[in-house]
Symmetry: C2
Subunit: 486 residues, 2 copies
């Protein structure tokens, strides 16, 4: 039957941008981990560990974090509003969740949670998000500026699609960066213009570095369109200081660059001397308005204390764009009709959680604080563990969900990696996986100063697992160094 001359689709005739795109967070090491997991399930005892510990991705609930009860109550009630009138419902759900579900349903035309919504998201939910932003920042926010999306990623893709015309258009990205940015720029055919964060100053962002890289890119004929800033940082864990943010805003204004602010970790700050400030708040507090700076803020339901990755909710707040350009952004959003309503509802909830006096407030606060305090403890324990290891230095995780320790690898290990035709950090990560079951992502997936080596490790395993992780990691590292010490 197999008479076709050749497959019509081959690696040689597909879009080369697809080939070029890389996404390390679900890359080779993770696929290898999945194979090991299958082997463990099929034949327990075949590896020197009982389970795979996925520290490769910010996916808290996959590692046992429980969802926030109030949020899930509201989602369930909006999914099946038919039960809202039953007496039993009052026994199963908190009264403020029931009230919130009614309030949300009343904002949806015809209470139809199964209908396509406005392509920017349900208006009432966007108004709730805008109100939440205004409360957070102390500056007004507008529902017309909100585009609710299936997580932050589709918003990032939309902006790349809008801004990138060819390889001669560039986007300034931090190095190290979250590889969504490099992947999206590759898929949309633009150029990533790197700016390096300074590991020596806790991954500091220097304006002089931004300026240098813009000039260098321009001298090569690249039109730099935007700057990506990830705050709190992924993978670095750095939280920007207010003064630094002000400099970044001034830089964007001066250079006519769009500021793409990845603010999905805005609730994840673990140190007392730092605080999250949105870039919009910073810009407005300088006195810059719509005419001064084009600014996009990305937020997601996947991170924070909620960690609702599977719900795929998020939004972008777009300010400083002309009405004609905004119409184009709306048009692109409309081609996909709308984001999922469950995610839309959740995006409105995270920006408007229970307040003092609400029935759920106390239990909600206990759940929230429990998660955030535990994350802070885990970050500190893992940071100390990495720093106690020979040849490893690790900056503080001030925020976000990651550690990005530097591996000062011995020459012998680097040679062994070369012989295995792999990067030294990938070599280390693979050895770590095969010895301990711990999955981390090599720094090369995020970018790093050439000749330096890192891995990204999440702080997300549950606390009862942390001691075992630390001891497995320590034992592995010691034997790795014993094998390769110069």
């Amino acid at each position: 039957m197999s008479s076709r001359k050749s497959s019509p689709v081959t690696l040689e005739n597909i879009n080369p941008k697809v080939i070029k795109c890389e996404y390390a967070v679900r890359g080779e090491i993770v696929m290898h981990a999945q194979r090991l997991q299958q082997e463990l399930q099929a034949k327990p005892g075949t590896h020197p560990f009982d389970e795979i510990l996925y520290c490769n991705i910010g996916n808290p609930q996959s590692l046992g974090q429980q969802p926030i009860t109030f949020f899930r109550e509201v989602l369930a009630l909006c999914d099946h509003p038919a039960i809202l009138d039953s007496d039993q419902t009052h026994a199963l759900f908190s009264s403020d969740a029931i009230a919130r579900a009614w309030q949300i349903l009343d904002q949806i035309p015809g209470r139809a949670t199964g209908a396509y919504s406005h392509s920017q998201g349900i208006k009432g939910l966007r108004e709730a998000i805008a109100a939440g932003i205004a409360t957070r920042d102390g500056f007004p926010a507008n529902a017309e500026d909100i585009f609710i999306t299936d997580g932050a990623s589709p918003g990032v893709h939309m902006m790349m699609q809008l801004l990138l015309r060819s390889e001669e258009d560039g986007i300034l990205c931090p190095i190290p960066q979250y590889p969504l940015y490099s992947a999206s720029i590759a898929l949309h055919g633009g150029t990533l213009v790197p700016y390096y964060l300074d590991e020596a100053t806790g991954w500091g962002l220097e304006i002089s570095e931004l300026k240098k890289q813009v000039e260098e890119a321009r001298s090569k004929g690249i039109a730099v369109r935007a700057v990506v800033v990830i705050n709190p940082g992924n993978p670095t864990g750095q939280v920007l200081a207010e003064g630094n943010q002000r400099e970044i805003v001034e830089f964007c204004k001066e250079e006519g660059l769009v500021l793409l602010a990845d603010e999905v970790y805005q609730e994840n700050v673990y140190v007392d001397d730092k605080k999250f400030n949105s870039f919009k708040k910073i810009a407005r507090s300088i006195g810059y308005g719509e005419d001064d700076i084009a600014l996009v803020s990305f937020q997601s339901v996947s991170k924070g204390y909620y960690g609702e990755c599977g719900k795929r909710g998020g939004y972008m707040e777009i300010t400083g764009f002309s009405p004609e350009v905004r119409e184009q952004i709306y048009k692109v959003a409309s081609v996909n009709l709308c984001s999922n309503i469950t995610g839309q509802i959740l995006a409105s909830l995270i920006m408007n959680p229970p307040k003092v006096g609400d029935e759920s407030f106390e239990s909600f606060s206990a759940e929230k604080d429990g998660i955030l305090k535990s994350l802070a403890r885990r970050a500190k324990t893992l940071e100390d563990a990495f720093n106690s290891l020979e040849g490893i230095t690790c900056n503080k995780t001030e925020g976000a969900m990651y550690l990005f320790p530097r591996l000062h690898l011995p020459q012998k290990a680097i040679k062994a990696a070369e012989a295995a035709k792999t990067a030294p950090d990938a070599f280390y990560a693979r050895r770590l996986l095969e010895t301990t079951g711990i999955v981390v992502v090599p720094g090369s997936g995020f970018g790093q100063v050439p000749g330096t080596w890192h891995v990204r490790c999440t702080i997300l395993p549950q606390e009862d697992k942390i001691p075992a992780i630390v001891s497995r990691l320590t034992a592995f590292h010691q034997s790795f160094m014993d094998e390769f010490r110069d």
Copy 2:
């Protein structure tokens, strides 16, 4: 403060592919309708109608269609599994919904409905979908071939992204077509190669026309990569005959083209002499396997009798691609991490609805049959209404959710449209909206034989509204003809 020389983003410096992209289903006429709706709300009585009737888009629940109870029960339970153990839950939910929720949760690692899943979707749900396909077709289906997506649209975009390298790559699309295809091809920088459906034979798809258009495109240097077939047809409502489908499969095999089968209306067939057959079933029944034809089938939770547009669920089944190319498709899927879990669960449910013997089976069947029979009646009534109007001819809606009547407009109306600088069908649609509040989409948004004029109108308004729609439409059309009759 407004010292910026000029906005960094203008219509002149954004991606021209974005500018080129058009999506009529949420285009100008719909934005005009939204303005009228706001005017009606602000000042009732300012227009000759009380409400806007959105017949522009296949969005059943926005017009009052109720969701299927069983599906919503399962979704609510999976959103808030904490209630699964309570006694009250048994009073509120059917026992098979509870059992199904447990079964689904057991397929999710850690029962974590809030975690990112495998980038193709949760394995157990993909197995359920594959089992549903196998039952439907009588041929095996493989969970590894399933990519669960946020509705059908992201799947279509992924395939366009994969196949289109430049303007010299072409995709054969029916004319008229659902404008997602033209929009996606424009955004990905390819060329739409049209093939015309024959209105005179009930929108028949002629292989000779496909061949002619492929040859013509090739003679212009276009590499034709794939054929889009929408069955049941959107906007045409045609259901393909089995013999015709066989010819299409043979054509794709011979020409080495990927068959992109839009099968989202597979449950929407309203005539006794036609039946939905998947293209995979047709290919396999000829005896063609993986090596013979590359085939992608798109399915969605938004259509059928369920109409769950807001949940953004769907899948594509990919067969006949090499492992290396499939890896690239997986990589692109992984950049967006995964589709929303609620939509994933719903996609598994629509492919595995309650069966004889399940507690919900009877009520489920009553809901399903009620919706489908009502849709069939509405299709017939509206078809008859259009056909009774002077100068309008309308093919039968055998399936899907639309009528696509042809307007044989008088010269005077065409001249009036010219004077108003608009296409004659857009002129008609705008007049219809402003007189009756009924929103239809001009045929030019779907493509049509030059010099012919159509509108697309959904069959989705609830039955109690149909008589009023028919009489408003009839009165409008008579007065339109009185004004413009040559």
